[in-house]
């Protein structure tokens, strides 16, 4: 127990301290009057705005979360299918992989208005945009994982008469899990940002819409409040991915002490 506590203070402690110092510094700068209050609200003002507007923020948050999650699920599925077929056919990999890279160089803000023109102001264009930004890290992660599968392990499976689908399901997929989760964590963070960006450029609800509204009202403290909320939402999704990762790959999180204990037991 004490060791656990120690671990937390050791790993997260310095970062928490930095954040705290930044907040205190920010508060001091705001209070000193060096920067006009309407340009830089103090953390306390931001917190106040956050509490005051909570009901509105919550309803917008639900919309954004829905778009982000739906887009993420579709994006991950698309990413998986892409990685699977490109791994199975080398020719397809060579033909399509550069295209995938190019697709990621197109700025999101440039596609979003087009999507709004094509699909209207409701949820569809937002989900599509989230899919576009989330499938890529998943595809790349999985592909890398599939291709890095131990060749000798593949030879072992073949020598046991394994069929292609068996090698894929029983060897390649579990081998690629670490890379998959790295990709998924990035995709989770992108999904919220993607949804917000698409809301800026057209829509009736969502945190991005709220953002554009408070911006035109020059309500800077509300602007900061929503920025923190979006950031927290991304962190929450990433943390959920982390939890899932631990559940799927318990063998990666065996304590070193536990390992030693077993060796002692053997000898």
């Amino acid at each position: 127990m004490t060791r656990k506590l120690q671990n937390i203070t050791q790993s997260k402690g310095p970062a928490a301290l930095t954040i705290l110092l930044l907040l205190v510094g920010w508060q001091l700068v705001a209070m000193s009057g060096l920067v006009p209050g309407y340009l830089l609200p103090s953390p306390v003002q931001v917190l106040h705005a956050f509490c005051q507007d909570w009901n509105t923020l919550w309803s917008h948050l639900l919309v954004t979360l829905q778009e982000a999650l739906l887009g993420l699920v579709v994006g991950v599925s698309v990413g998986f299918v892409f990685a699977m077929v490109m791994d199975a056919w080398e020719g397809l990999y060579r033909a399509c992989y550069p295209l995938l890279i190019i697709s990621q160089t197109i700025p999101t803000v440039a596609i979003a208005p087009l999507l709004v023109l094509w699909f209207g102001y409701d949820m569809t264009p937002k989900v599509i945009l989230v899919v576009l930004v989330t499938f890529f890290p998943v595809t790349v992660g999985l592909l890398e994982g599939f291709r890095a599968t131990d060749r000798d392990a593949v030879a072992l499976f073949r020598s046991m008469g394994a069929k292609r689908w068996q090698i894929f399901c029983y060897l390649k997929v579990p081998s690629a899990l670490p890379q998959f989760f790295s990709g998924l964590r990035i995709a989770a963070a992108y999904s919220v940002v993607g949804a917000v960006i698409s809301e800026w450029l057209g829509g009736f609800s969502g945190l991005g819409v709220y953002m554009t509204r408070v911006k035109s009202a020059f309500a800077f403290e509300k602007m900061f409040a929503v920025i923190f909320l979006i950031s927290a939402l991304s962190l929450l999704l990433m943390a959920l991915v982390g939890l899932w990762e631990k559940k799927m790959m318990p063998y990666r999180y065996i304590q070193k002490d536990e390992k030693k204990e077993i060796e002692k037991h053997e000898s």
Partner: protein
């Protein structure tokens, strides 16, 4: 009839010939070693026997049936133990049965029923990476045995172990072999290991690799470590050294 027969196998990669007219046989219950320096094509020969590689010429017969370039006929234990980190020990061992379509529960039960015999009891639910080197070898060997009890190909199975562990694993291995009577073809570059474990030794030399000599180790089983310090043991060793030198 021979259990396994390799007849005049030749393999080349591009212009480089790896194996030339290699022939050998393996009887039921026999342990035969393939001894040679690295680069003499031992592993290539195993890939041919396992059906992973099609030879340019020559054939592989299992109980008289032509199995050239047909994988999934003999058990093959590669140089690395290749235990999968994402499975428990029992699931790793049960893998060949699961690939054959045996339901998971049944495969696991079948695998676990051999754990005592292989000195693996108590490790069923551990992750593969929690095992020590010697235990990993045992698990890999049991996995090999569960795939097929007809013929096993073992490619330097003990080369990654340190000298002391290797000695105890040898003793253990000789005991297990007494019980399971597996027909085994065994790659090694360790002369002591070959003499201690084998009924016969083929010496593979040259580039391309050829089998020019065969040595019968006419000693009763089970052999103990005491055998390794006898005059006879040394004579076998001298003979092998002569064969290896001739091949260069």
């Amino acid at each position: 009839m021979e259990r396994l027969e390799i007849s005049k196998v030749s393999v080349s990669f591009g212009t480089r010939q790896i194996l030339q007219d290699v022939s050998l046989t393996l009887k039921e219950g026999e342990l035969v070693s393939l001894l040679g320096i690295s680069g003499s094509g031992k592993t290539t020969l195993f890939n041919v026997i396992a059906g992973l590689l099609k030879p340019d010429t020559g054939s592989v017969y299992l109980d008289g049936e032509d199995i050239t370039a047909i994988p999934g006929q003999v058990s093959y234990m590669l140089q690395k133990d290749l235990l999968l980190p994402f499975h428990t020990v029992e699931d790793n061992v049960a893998l060949p049965l699961i690939l054959k379509g045996v339901p998971k529960k049944k495969a696991r039960a079948e695998a676990v029923s051999h754990f005592r015999e292989f000195g693996l009891e108590g490790t069923e639910k551990l992750w593969a990476n929690q095992l020590s080197g010697g235990m990993r070898q045992r698990a890999a060997l049991l996995r090999t045995y569960l795939f097929s009890s007809r013929v096993a190909l073992l490619d330097e199975p003990f080369s990654a172990l340190d000298a002391l562990t290797k000695r105890s694993v040898h003793q253990w291995y000789l005991q297990v072999m007494e019980q399971i009577k597996l027909s085994t073809l065994f790659i090694t570059h360790d002369m002591d290991e070959a003499i201690l474990l084998s009924d016969r030794i083929y010496v593979l030399t040259g580039q391309p690799g050829q089998i020019l000599h065969e040595l019968v180790i006419d000693q009763p089983h089970p052999r103990t470590e005491a055998f390794a310090v006898t005059e006879q043991f040394l004579n076998y060793k001298k003979q092998i050294l002569v064969y290896l030198k001739e091949g260069q």
